[in-house]
C-alpha cells in the first residue's frame, strides 16, 4: 500500500492527494464566487442599464460598449462559474477563470490608482471601490492562479505516472 504522496514529492509520479484536494476545493470556491457575482448582475436582480451605469463610471468604455458589457458580462460569469463547477476540462476552466479575474483585478487597480471614487459593481450596487476591494480581488487572483498551476501540475503528474 502506498503512503499518500507529498505535494512537493517530484520523485513520485502519482498525483498527490493534498494537491488534488486543494485544486478541487479552490475550484469550487472560485465557482461559488463567479456564480454569486453573476447572480447579482442578472437582469431580474439588477436592470442592465443600472449595471451599465456602474460600468460607465469606470470611464473606459463608450456608451454602446457599456451596454453590451452590461448585458453579456453576467452570462459570461455564469458560464465561467459553471465551467469551474463541472471542472472539465479542468485546465481550460482554470485558465479562463484566471484570465477573467486578472482582468478584473487590473481594472480595479487602475481605477483606484486614478483616484476615481466609484462603486465597484463587482457583487451588485453599493460597494465602494477601495483598498478592501483590491485585497479581496488580489486574493481571488492568487487563488485562481494557484489552482491553475495546480491543474497543470496534476496533469503533468498524471501523464508521468501513465508513462
Amino acid at each position: 500500500m502506498n503512503a499518500p504522496s507529498s505535494a512537493l514529492d517530484m520523485t513520485n509520479p502519482a498525483p498527490p492527494v493534498a494537491l488534488r484536494w486543494f485544486v478541487t476545493i479552490g475550484r469550487l470556491a472560485l465557482a461559488a464566487v463567479f456564480l454569486f457575482a453573476a447572480w447579482t448582475k442578472m437582469p431580474w436582480v439588477q436592470p442592465p442599464p443600472l449595471f451599465g451605469m456602474q460600468i460607465d463610471s469606470y470611464q473606459i468604455l463608450g456608451p454602446g460598449m457599456v451596454m453590451l458589457v452590461a448585458r453579456t458580462l453576467p452570462w459570461f460569469e455564469l458560464a465561467v462559474g459553471l465551467l469551474l463547477l463541472v471542472g472539465r476540462p479542468l485546465r481550460f476552466a482554470t485558465v479562463v477563470a484566471s484570465l477573467t479575474v486578472a482582468g478584473f483585478f487590473a481594472l480595479v487597480v487602475r481605477t483606484y490608482a486614478a483616484g476615481l471614487e466609484i462603486n465597484c459593481g463587482c457583487f451588485g450596487p453599493g460597494e465602494r471601490l477601495g483598498p478592501a476591494t483590491l485585497v479581496r480581488d488580489g486574493a481571488f487572483l492568487a487563488l485562481s492562479l494557484a489552482i491553475t498551476a495546480g491543474a497543470f501540475w496534476l496533469r503533468r503528474r498524471k501523464s508521468a505516472s501513465a508513462s
Partner: protein, 228 residues
C-alpha cells in the same frame, strides 16, 4: 361582528400606511429648509434624482458638466425627472463648505441654478485660492450678491476651516449651515461614501450610484425605468 369590522378597518388603514411609506424614499421623507429652491423640475415627476455633491470635487464638476446640464434641459424640462442638489462638502476640500453657503444663500432668493453653474464652470480657477465670490457675483449681479453676502455674514467666519463643527452655538444663527448639515445627515443615511453619489428613486425604489456617468447611459436607465 363589530370586532371583525374594526379588524378590517385597521387592516385597510395599515395597508394604506405601508403603501405610503413604500412610495417615499428614506432620504426624502424629511425635507431640508431650502430644498425646493435647490431642486430642478416638478416634484410630481415620476423619477427623483438626488445628487450628493461637493462644489470643489472635480468628479462632481464632471457629472454636472457632462451629464446634469443635459439632463436639466431634457428630462427635467419635460417633467420626467425631479433633480435635487444635496450638499455633501468633504472635509478635505478647503473651500467647498463656504461655496455651499453661497449656493444655499442664492437658493433662498431663487438663484441656485446660476450659482451652481458659476461654481462648477469656474471650479479650477477658485479651488486654488477660494475666490469663488467673484464668480457668484458675475452670475447673480451686484444687487443679489449683496443679499447673498448678508445671509452668509450671519455665519461664523471660520477662515481656514474646511468644515465648521456642528455643535458650536454660533451656528444657531446660521441657517445656511443648518441646511448643509441637513443634507450631510441625509447623505450619511444613504450612505454616501464618495462624491458625487446619486440616488435615483422610481416608484419608491431607490438605486445608488457613485462617480461620473455619461448622459447617454443615464438616459438609457431613465428610459428603462419609465417603460417599466
Amino acid at each position: 361582528m363589530a370586532k371583525r369590522r374594526a379588524a378590517a378597518l385597521w387592516t385597510v388603514l395599515l395597508a394604506i400606511g405601508f403603501s405610503t411609506l413604500a412610495e417615499t424614499p428614506v432620504w426624502s421623507q424629511s425635507h431640508g429648509p431650502i430644498e425646493i429652491t435647490k431642486a430642478y423640475g416638478s416634484k410630481t415627476a415620476p423619477i427623483t434624482m438626488e445628487v450628493f455633491s461637493d462644489f470643489e470635487c472635480p468628479s462632481c464638476k464632471g457629472l454636472y458638466e457632462q451629464t446634469l446640464k443635459m439632463l436639466i434641459s431634457d428630462y427635467v424640462a419635460s417633467g420626467k425627472v425631479y433633480l435635487i442638489h444635496r450638499d455633501f462638502p468633504l472635509p478635505m476640500h478647503k473651500y467647498s463648505w463656504k461655496a455651499a453657503r453661497y449656493a444655499d444663500a442664492a437658493a433662498e432668493i431663487g438663484k441656485f441654478p446660476q450659482v451652481e453653474a458659476a461654481l462648477f464652470d469656474n471650479q479650477s480657477a477658485w479651488s486654488t485660492d477660494g475666490s469663488f465670490a467673484k464668480y457668484v457675483e458675475q452670475a447673480v449681479g451686484p444687487a443679489d450678491m449683496t443679499t447673498i453676502e448678508k445671509r452668509v455674514s450671519a455665519c461664523k467666519d471660520d477662515s481656514g476651516v474646511a468644515q465648521p463643527k456642528q455643535d458650536e452655538p454660533e451656528h444657531h444663527s446660521c441657517p445656511l449651515d443648518d441646511a448643509i448639515w441637513h443634507d450631510v445627515a441625509l447623505g450619511n443615511k444613504v450612505p454616501v461614501q464618495a462624491t458625487p453619489t446619486f440616488v435615483v428613486t422610481y416608484k419608491g425604489k431607490p438605486s445608488t450610484t457613485s462617480g461620473v456617468v455619461s448622459y447617454a447611459v443615464l438616459k438609457q436607465y431613465f428610459d428603462y425605468l419609465l417603460s417599466h
